[in-house]
């Protein structure tokens, strides 16, 4: 099992969700986040005054997927979230050691 942490543009969330659902990835966590990568924000100007926009609003989608789906998932996320411009986001992949379902106490396997 792997945890995929996808940081994407806010307007791309629906497309990413749809793409993952098509791969039968069911559970996901979506959060509003702010941060910067290479994009490092920019300077906006309002009424002649500059103000610094260093942290950009992004959405974070977290999904836990079986190892066999990891590559497909990464692919569809990137396809759905890509615009080609700086600021499209990142996908992080992390190993998941164990997973339990709280209601039943079951340990989940791939």
């Amino acid at each position: 099992m792997k945890l995929l942490k996808c940081i994407v543009r806010p307007n791309k969330v629906d497309e990413v969700k749809d793409a993952l659902t098509k791969l039968s990835v069911s559970g996901m966590t979506v959060s509003e986040v702010r941060g910067h990568g290479k994009q490092k924000g920019h300077t906006a100007i309002y009424r002649g005054k500059e103000y610094n926009v260093s942290l950009l609003p992004k959405m974070e989608i977290e999904v836990v997927v079986p190892d066999r789906l990891v590559h497909d998932c990464i692919k569809v996320v990137m396809e759905a979230a890509r615009t080609g411009e700086i600021g499209d986001g990142r996908v992080f992949v992390m190993p998941v050691e164990e997973s339990y379902k709280i209601r039943t106490g079951e340990r989940e396997t791939d």
Binding site: R9, P10, N11, K12, D14, E32, V33, R34, A44, I45, Y46, R47, G48, K49, E50, V53, P57, T83, E85, G87
Partner: protein, 861 residues
């Protein structure tokens, strides 16, 4: 009257005759009989309230009879009793205060008739105090004569036109004057108490003037009457004790008058013995009788003083017609009257917001009980109330709570049945946590909170951003109205936005709203989901997204309103919906769109695709062929079409007709409380600077303006300005003079700098400086222009000086956007130099000169 006729023997000044003398004799006999009766009662120690009222009645009869003889045939005349006589507390030597009132203007016939009324009264030896007034004297009540207003509180008609009397009373007995009258009464009372060292324990008391005396007693009754009559049942003692005290004091006063044969009210030591005897106090020695009398006196005076002190402390404060603010909130003084005046109910809520109080429960109960009897029109029957309704909707502390009360009492749903229909409406979706009506009211609360000043250091930057947008709005109440109506379409099962718009149009008709206000509110309702969709679901980093959204919004004012409406709408969905993350996205879309509207608009030009505008304007104006309109429009920024309606476009096309290089086609028209100057010309050096200079040299405050140039060098400048000195309004030749000066300045015959300097040097035009000036130069926002954005203190001639510097530096000013927000001027210039954007060096030089100019301005002040 300055020249009273003294004594009965002088005659009345009328053509004498037997019957007349008989009539006079009869009056004298009747008055003498009445006075004898009162004197006899006084001697028995029984000339209290009843005896005095009987005497007042007898005097009434005399006055009525004389009035009928003298003025009975005069239409619209009435005689009133005022003050103590109005209260029927008429002692033997009290003043008989009369007001003779006429419905129309006074003339010499009236003067003669007045003599016929007043001379016999003087002849009878009565101390008549009289006033003669026309009803129109009371069109505006002078607040500086509180004693007169106070005397009117007890006014009652003796004879004449009752209808006139009623009309008069509605003018003077207005509760909005009551606050004033009560305050004046309190002040007069303190003033009167001062010579008595403010104590009622006087060894030789003045039973009328002293603390605890008759005037204090009248004050207690007046305050109760003007604020809350029920107070008389709640005071520090039974109100029967007040009546008792009054009767006692009047019986004493009657004796003093009888004995002194004049208006004498001091209960001196010698008089105390006589009064004690006449009032039949027991005791072997005079001293014992006096002690008993004075014991009673002090007991009554203490009671009166306590009442007065109590009622001054607890009396509600009048806050409007038939409205007072008491401990439990704002309520009707007379609920029975209010129940049949639905048009007055809104003012209870308005007064409550103003006073920072609630509307009291019993008032809400009255409204709830009677609301169903009336239709929407009954609450807002005329333009004044309709305007008051919009005024009420201004976002400010307390609005949400009062609107909620109004909703709970059923009034809101009666005024706006469209809103009534969403009461407790449940629409199931994944987001909304409250019923549709409460969601709407909570959204208004969000605006209210933005409008509420915060303690220094307690606000966040995020909040301040949106709060500043709200401050910029000229008519924030339209935003609240839009919020009230934005979801009313959810009462049905149709798509709610279109339905809300349809229902809102009915509301606009009922409120008789002007076209521009309707358009603004309708725009907001129709687009209330647009901004959140774009901000949260579209790629706002794509300039095309912003451009498209900017095209929907059109102008900055609407953008600000839509941004705030979106913020409030999202915030009211649930506690968690408006995250700082969402607020940030919204703010960024706002800034990008604002910049697009103010900086990028020069790139969006009118082209063939807008030909339907030309057709539409042409169809309405027979003298304007569509081709001529198209020719005029082509190449102007698209924004032009959003700024001006079809009538204005037609005006501009006409002004642009047959323009030749030296001509200046000018129109100068009043627009609301401001003026609008439209100048069409072919471009020439310093043109913009000269026009703004001329405006300032006439002392005009430029509020907003648009300067546009079309590719064929046609310049259209439109300025809105206020004329604080009312030069244009008050002087018949002023417009021509203004236009002549403008032409002379533009053609170079007159130097506007000289004209301006005269004004600039005047201390009247110095204004405090608050804003640190900002000059920002941008070469990227527009494809064709360098954009200079300037934010500075609004000052006389500012625009002139800025644009002059630009012209001096060889820049062509092609487009200008001028806005004034409070004391801040926000000007955006689109400029070129030799037909291209400015080089970096030229930009630096220009910014440096502008900075220098603005800093000098700043320091001079």
């Amino acid at each position: 009257m300055s020249n009273p006729v003294p004594g009965p023997s002088t005659g009345s000044g009328q053509a004498d005759g037997e019957p007349h003398r008989d009539a006079a004799q009869s009056l004298r006999t009747r008055l003498a009989a009445a006075r004898d009766e009162l004197s006899a009662a006084t001697s028995r120690g029984q000339a209290g309230r009843d005896a005095l009222a009987r005497y007042a009645g007898a005097v009434d009869d005399l006055v009525a009879e004389l009035f009928t003889d003298a003025l009975g045939d005069t239409p619209q005349a009435v005689v009133l009793a005022l003050g103590g006589y109005g209260r029927r507390h008429l002692c033997l030597h009290s003043d008989v205060d009369l007001l003779v009132l006429f419905g129309g203007p006074l003339n010499s016939a009236h003067a003669g008739a007045l003599n016929e009324l007043l001379h016999p009264l003087w002849d009878l030896g009565l101390a008549v105090g009289h006033q003669v007034r026309e009803l129109d004297d009371f069109a505006r009540i002078e607040a500086d004569n509180p004693e007169f207003l106070l005397a009117l509180v007890d006014a009652r008609p003796i004879a004449g036109d009752r209808d006139l009397f009623n009309r008069f009373m509605t003018r003077v007995q207005r509760a909005d004057l009551y606050a004033h009258v009560v305050a004046a009464l309190v002040a007069l009372t303190d003033e009167r108490h001062a010579p008595f060292n403010a104590t009622f324990y006087q060894l030789e008391p003045d039973v009328k003037e002293a603390p605890g005396g008759l005037r204090d007693l009248a004050a207690v009754r007046t305050i109760a009457r003007l604020t809350d009559p029920a107070l008389l049942r709640q005071g520090p003692s039974d109100s029967a004790r007040l009546d008792e005290a009054e009767d006692f004091l009047l019986r004493v006063r009657s004796i003093l008058h009888l004995d002194a044969r004049r208006n004498q009210n001091v209960l001196s030591h010698p008089m105390q013995e006589r009064v004690a005897a006449l009032l039949d106090y027991p005791g072997a020695l005079p001293q014992a009788r006096v002690e008993r009398l004075m014991g009673d006196y002090f007991r009554h005076a203490r009671g009166v003083a306590r009442w007065l002190e109590w009622i001054r402390r607890v009396a509600p404060v009048p806050v409007g017609p038939n409205l007072v603010k008491a401990g439990d909130g704002v309520r009707f003084v007379d609920a029975t009257v209010a129940a049949s005046q639905p048009e007055s109910w809104l003012s209870a809520f308005q007064a409550a917001v103003d006073a920072g109080a609630a509307v009291s429960d019993d008032t809400l109960a009255v409204i709830q009980q009677h609301a169903d009897r009336f239709g929407g029109h009954d609450f807002l029957p005329d333009p004044t109330r309709q305007a008051a309704w919009l005024e009420f909707l201004k976002p400010r502390p307390g609005l949400y709570a009062r609107l909620s009360q109004m909703h709970d009492s059923g009034l809101l749903g009666r005024i706006l049945p469209e809103f009534g229909a969403i009461t407790c409406r449940v629409v199931r979706d994944f987001y909304h946590k409250y019923t549709v009506d409460e969601h709407t009211l909570l959204a208004i609360r969000t605006l209210e909170r933005l409008a509420t000043p915060m303690l220094p250091g307690t606000s966040t930057r995020e909040r301040e951003r949106f709060a500043s947008l709200l401050q910029d709005l000229e008519r924030p109440e339209l935003l609240v109205l839009a919020l009230l109506l934005h979801d009313v379409g959810k009462s049905g099962d149709e798509e709610h936005v279109a339905e809300s718009v349809r229902l809102a149009r009915g509301v606009f008709d009922r409120l008789a709203m002007p076209a521009d206000a309707r358009e603004a509110v309708e725009f907001l309702i129709a687009n209330h989901l647009q901004m959140s969709t774009v901000a949260f679901r579209r790629d706002t980093e794509d300039p095309e997204t912003v451009r498209r959204f900017a095209a929907v919004v059109g102008v900055e004012d609407r953008l600000k309103m839509l941004c705030l409406l979106t913020l409030a709408d999202v915030d009211a969905v649930s506690l968690e919906t408006l995250t700082p993350w969402k607020a940030e996205l919204l703010w960024r879309l706002y800034v990008d769109t604002y910049n697009q509207l103010t900086l990028g608009y020069a790139d969006e030009l009118i082209d063939q695709s807008q030909s339907e505008v030309a057709q539409a304007v042409g169809a309405r104006h027979a003298d304007l062929p569509a081709e001529e309109i198209s020719r005029f429009l082509e190449g102007l920024p698209r924004r032009y079409l959003q700024l001006f309606d079809q009538a204005a476009i037609a005006r501009h096309v006409r002004l642009a007709r047959d323009i030749h290089p030296d001509a200046l086609h000018v129109s100068l028209e009043p627009k609301g409380s401001a003026w609008e100057l439209t100048v069409v010309s072919l471009d020439k050096p310093f043109l913009f600077s000269n026009i703004s200079g001329v405006l300032s040299s006439f002392g005009m405050d430029i509020l907003r303006g648009h300067a546009m140039t079309s590719p064929h060098d046609l310049v259209l400048d439109v300025f809105q300005f206020t004329d604080r000195e009312r030069f244009l309004e008050l002087n018949p030749g002023a417009r021509d003079e203004f236009i002549a000066v403008l032409e002379n300045v533009v053609s170079g015959k007159v130097d506007v700098t000289v004209r301006l300097r005269r004004r600039e040097q005047s201390p009247v035009h110095l204004r405090p400086r608050r804003v640190i000036p900002v000059v920002h130069c941008d070469n990227h926002a527009s494809q064709r222009y360098t954009i200079v954005e300037i934010v500075a203190d609004d000052a006389l001639g500012l625009l002139y000086r800025i644009s002059r510097v630009m012209s001096q530096q060889g820049c062509d000013v092609d487009l200008v956007l001028i806005a004034t927000e409070g004391h801040k001027a926000i000007d955006v210039f689109h400029i070129t130099q030799a037909g291209a954007k400015l080089s970096p060096a030229a930009q630096d030089a220009l910014v440096a000169s502008l900075q220098r100019l603005l800093e000098e301005d700043h320091e001079v002040a």
